[in-house]
Symmetry: C2
Subunit: 101 residues, 2 copies
Amino acid sequence: MQKSLNKPHKLFFETLGNEARWDIVHLLLRKHYRATDIARELGYEQSLVSHHLKRLQTCGFVRVEAQGNERVYYLNEKTIRPLLKLVDKHINEFCKKICTT
Amino acid sequence: MQKSLNKPHKLFFETLGNEARWDIVHLLLRKHYRATDIARELGYEQSLVSHHLKRLQTCGFVRVEAQGNERVYYLNEKTIRPLLKLVDKHINEFCKKICTT
DNA sequence: GCATAATATGAATTATAATTCATATTATGC
DNA sequence: GCATAATATGAATTATAATTCATATTATGC
């Protein structure tokens, strides 16, 4: 028996179940960002964002393109867009009580 | 600022990112189960399963029907089925390296 | 209404993940 | 090749969630 890494479902959901990572994904829905700008924009520490970006890459949610000593991160929209749609639909339909906003 | 409960997305993904809950959901994909049978089938403690079932209900993934002093749990398939499909697709497409099985 | 089976609950403990911190790496312009 | 800016990394700490345990609740048959 191995750890969670060979349980991709767990990894998938755990990754998105974290607020900071969720924030990053949402930011990237708008446009590409440099690592530093993500941190500044969201008010998170540089190294924290770096850790999270790594994980998001591992899961195939986010990709990176090196530009000199900068790294520009962007979303793999293919999954995220339909996923968000599905989740929003579910929440609206079945989790009204939980929602505040 | 409140806690995670008013952040339904977080709740949604966190809930599915747990292995025991994931197992329960998968078991319920097959058929309805009594709480006790879920525990026995999966080898989890009764109270643990009970805690998890509660959470799964909160998220609208699972529903319950009382039958005497038993409670029969069943899946809200409306979200789970398409969600699983989407996730499997993503994993196959973008997370090959992670998978072991 | 008492004994039993099924399930739920809350607090305490334990396990796990997130965050920070200090530092390493990498690419650039000069 | 040195100084700088951007980013990554790993270990230590801290925060959070999972699990267990003891017990409460609930419905049933008698």
